[in-house]
Amino acid sequence: MIDQENLLQINDLNVSFNTDEGSVQAVEKLCMSIKPAEIVGLVGESGSGKSVTAKAIMRMTARNAVVAKQSQLLLQHQEQSIDIMRLRGDGLKLVRGGVVSMIFQEPMASFAPAITVGDQIVQCIQIHLGYSREEARAEGIRLFDRVGINEPEKRFDQYVYELSGGMRQRAMIAMALSSKPKLLIADEPTTALDVTIQAQVLELLLELREQTGMAMLFITHDLGVISKVADKVMVMQKGRVVESGSVKQVLYSPQHQYTKRLLDALPHLSDLPYAPERQSPIVKVEDVTISYPQSGAGRNKQSFQAVKSISLALPKGQIIGLVGESGSGKTSLGKAILGAASISEGQINYCGLNGDSSIVSNIVFGAKAKKVPRKALAKVAQMVFQDPHSSLNPRMTVRDIIAEPLEAMKLTRSRAETDQRVIDIAKRCQIDVTHLRRFPHAFSGGQRQRISIARALICQPQFIVADESVAALDVSTQAEILSLFKQLRDDLGLTILFISHDLSVIANLCDWVCVMRQGELVEQGSVRQIFLTPQQQYTQQLIAAIPLLDNHQKAIDTEQSEVELLSAAG
C-alpha cells in the first residue's frame, strides 16, 4: 500500500533484459519514494539503470525488457493508490504525459521534425485535457510564455529546427507541463546544452516547482547539477542504488567509494595549480582564419568564418585547454593546427621542435604555403579523437591500428621491430599486450581511447591535439584517461592541446586555458586565472554557470577577495 505522504512509491523494482548472451539485470531491488513538490536526483553513469527506471515508471521499457512480477510501482492519484503495473490501454495515458510526464535529453530528436512545435503541444493538450483546438492553442501559447520563450505566438508555429537549443528544451518543458503533471521525469535534460543555457533551464525548472508544486525525478550523471536542484539524491551503479539520502549527506559526506569517485570528477577549484613557468612555444598560430563556403552560388556565395584571425602560442610541455561552446570553432582550429582543415588566412608555425636529424626543425604551412608537409608533420604532431568508436577502423586488429603510422610511413625496418614498438607503446598506455590481436569491438570506450592514444604516440610526436577526447567516456574512465594524459606530459614532455566544452575536465587537467567564442579568442591565461579571476564578461558567465558544490564556491570567493585586496593595495 502506498504511504499517504508519497506521490510515487517504488518497491523492489527489478528489470532485466533478454539478450542473445542471456538475461542481463538492469535494475535490481530498487526502492524509492517521491513526495509532492520534491525533487529527487538519480545519479549514475551510462548503463547504471537510471533511464530504465524512468521508463519502467512510464511502462515504456524496451521490448526485450522483463519487469519482475514482485515489482511494485504505486502512484497516488485522486486519493487513490494506483498500481502502474496493472494499467492497460487508455489507462496508460495516466503515466504517459498525464499525471507523470517526461522531458528528454535531446529535444531536437524528441520533437517530430515535420510538424510545428505548437501542433505537437496542441495535440498533447487535446488528448490529456480534452480542450478544443482553439482552447488548446491558447493554453499552449500561455505555457510557452510561462517557460520563458519570447515571442511565444511566433515560436508556436515554428518547426523544431528553427529554435535554438535552449528554446527547444523550453518547448519540451512546456509540452511536458501541458497536461499539468504531478510528477515530471527529467532524463538528462541539460546534458546536451551549453553551460550558460543549462543554468537557465535549471532555474526554470526550480521556478516551476515553486509555482505548481510539481515533483521531479531528475536523472543525470552530473553531481554538480544535482547539487543545484535536488532535495534527495540516489546514486546508482550497475543497477543498484549504492547510496541515497539528502543532497547534503550524500554530496558532503559521501560514504560509498563510488560516490566519492564521482565527486572527485567535479572541478576542484580549491586546489587549482598556480601558473606554471612560461615556456617557449612549440607551435604558433599566426592570424589564422578558417572559412567554409556556405549556401548560395556564384557571386552570392557566402562563406562562414569558423575561426576569425586567431593568434596563439602553445607553450612546450604543457597541457593547453581550448574551451568553448559548440560551434565556437575550437575543433576547426585544432584540425587546422594539424593541417587537416584548409586555412584561408594566416599560418601555422611549428617553431619549437626538438631538433633531431630525422625531423625537420621548422614546419610552416598556411594560406601562403598551401601544401601541408604531411609526412614530416605526422612524425611530430598527432591527434586523439572524440569518439573512440569511429576513430578506430573496425576491420583492423589493435596491433595494426597502433602500427598504422609506422607502416604507412615505413618507419621501421622489419615487422619484428614494428611489433616491439607496438608492445612498448601499448605498455606505456596501459593496454594489455595480450589483447593486441583483438579487434576494436572487443574493447570498452576507455580502452579504445587508450588504443587511440597509443596510435598517436607510436612515432614519438612532440605535440598532440586531443579533441574532446574524454567527452564520450564515463566519469571514472574519464579520470583514468586524464591521468594518463598528465603522465605523458610529465614523462615524455609532450605538449597537448586539449579541446573540450567541459569546464570541469579542463580545470582538472590543464595548465593553460584559452577560451573561444564564435571563432574568436576571448581570453587566455593560466587555469587558476581563468577559473578564479576571469576578466572577460563571457568567461565570467561561463564560470558562473558551472554547477559547483558550495565549498568550491567559497574558494572562488576567497580568491577573488584576495585579488581585490591586492589590486586595492597595489
Binding site: M383, F385, T397, P405, A408, T434, R437
Partner: protein, 414 residues
Amino acid sequence: MTTIMNLFGRAKSKNNTDESYYTAGQMALIKARFNRKLSGRIASWILITTLMLGLFASFFSPVDPTIKGADSDYRRGAPQMVYFWDENGFSLRPFTYTYTKEGAKIDLKALAGGGLAALDALTSSGALTSSNQNKYKVDQDKRRYLQFFVESWEYSFLDLTPIGIDFEWRTKLHLFGVEQGQVHLMGTDEDGKDVFSRTLHAIWITISIALVALVVKLFSSLIVGGVSGYFGGRIDAVLMAITEAVRVIPPIPVYLACAVALAQIDLTSVQRYFAIAVVIGLLDFATLGRRLRTHILTERNQDYVLAAQLSGASNWRVIWVHLIPSFTSYIIVDTLINFPYVILAETSLSFLGLGLTEPVNSLGVLLQKAQDPDIQQNMVWQFFPVVIFVVMVMAFVFVGDALRDAADPHSENK
C-alpha cells in the same frame, strides 16, 4: 622473440576459446550472427543444394536433356511415380512401371469408306484433341527398377578448357537411371525431352548468366560510385548526372536494340545472351553505383579515415587499406540480394522472346514455355521449373536478407 611472435599469432599459439570472439574479424562476426538466424540457415542450405544440382546437372539427370535424349515413345508423358511397394509386393529398391503411350485409334478404314458421317464421328470422339494424346498405359507387371550410379550418355563432368587449363573429365556416370528405357520423374514435353533433366540444366545456365551480369554491374558501379564518392565535387556532379541520364532510359527498348544488333553477328544463342547480360550489367550500375557513392561519402568523413591521413598514409593507402575493406561485406550482401532480380530480368527477356529461346535450357525459356495454354491445360508437370525458380529466388532473398541483418552492426540492438 617467441613471445612477440606469440602475441601476433605468427607462431602457433594455444587456442583460447574465450579469445576467439575478441579476435574475430568482420567476416567471422557476420558468420556467427548469420548462423543465429534460422530462416537464413535453412535458405542457405536450400540454395546450396539447388546450386549443386545445377552445377552437376548432368550427373543428377537421368536423361540427356537435349533432343538426342528425347524419348520418342513417351512424348507429352506424365510424371512417373517411384514406388517401393504395390499389389505385387514390396521392394527395397524403388521402381517405376513401364508406361506405354496409347496411339490414337483412328479407324482409317471406316474413315475411308464412311464419308462425312465417319469424319464427324472421329472429330467428336475426342481422339484428335491434345488431351487425348496424353493417354498412356501403365503396365504394372513390368517394373523398372531404379539403378544408382549407372552409365548412360557421356558428358564432361569437369571442363577447365574455358579458363585456359587443358583438362576435361568426361564420364558416363549418372546418379540414377533405370534398366531399360528412361525414367521421367517430372514427365516429358511435347518432344519427349525429360522435364526434370531440362530444369536441372537450366539452373546453371541461368545462374551463370546472372553471374556475368552481376560481375559486370559490380565493376561498373564500383568505378562510377568509387570515383564519384571519393573525389566528390565536380567529378561527382558530372558522373551522377550521367548516372541519372542512364537511369531514365527504359531498359526493354535497349535490350531490343541490342538483340537486333547482336543478331547481325554470328553467335550461338547462348553467346548472344551472354552479350545481352553484359549490356544488362553495364546499364544497371545506377542504383548500386549511387549507393556506393553515398557509402563512400559518409565513410570518408569517419574519424578513422582522418586518423589514417594524419598518420601519414597516402591517398592510395587510405582507399585500399581503410576504405575498400569497409565495403566488401556491403557489396557481397547487395550482390546476393540482387541475384533474384537479375534472374528475373533473364526470365522476363526470355518471356519477351529476346533472350534465350528453345531449345536452350534456361529457366527463362522453360518459364516462357509454361505460358502455352496447351501446357497449362494438358501438361501441368511442365510447371516444375516454375517451382524450382520460385524456391531458388526465395532462397536467394532469404539468404541475402539474413546476410544483410548479419552485416549490419545495428541489428544486434534489436
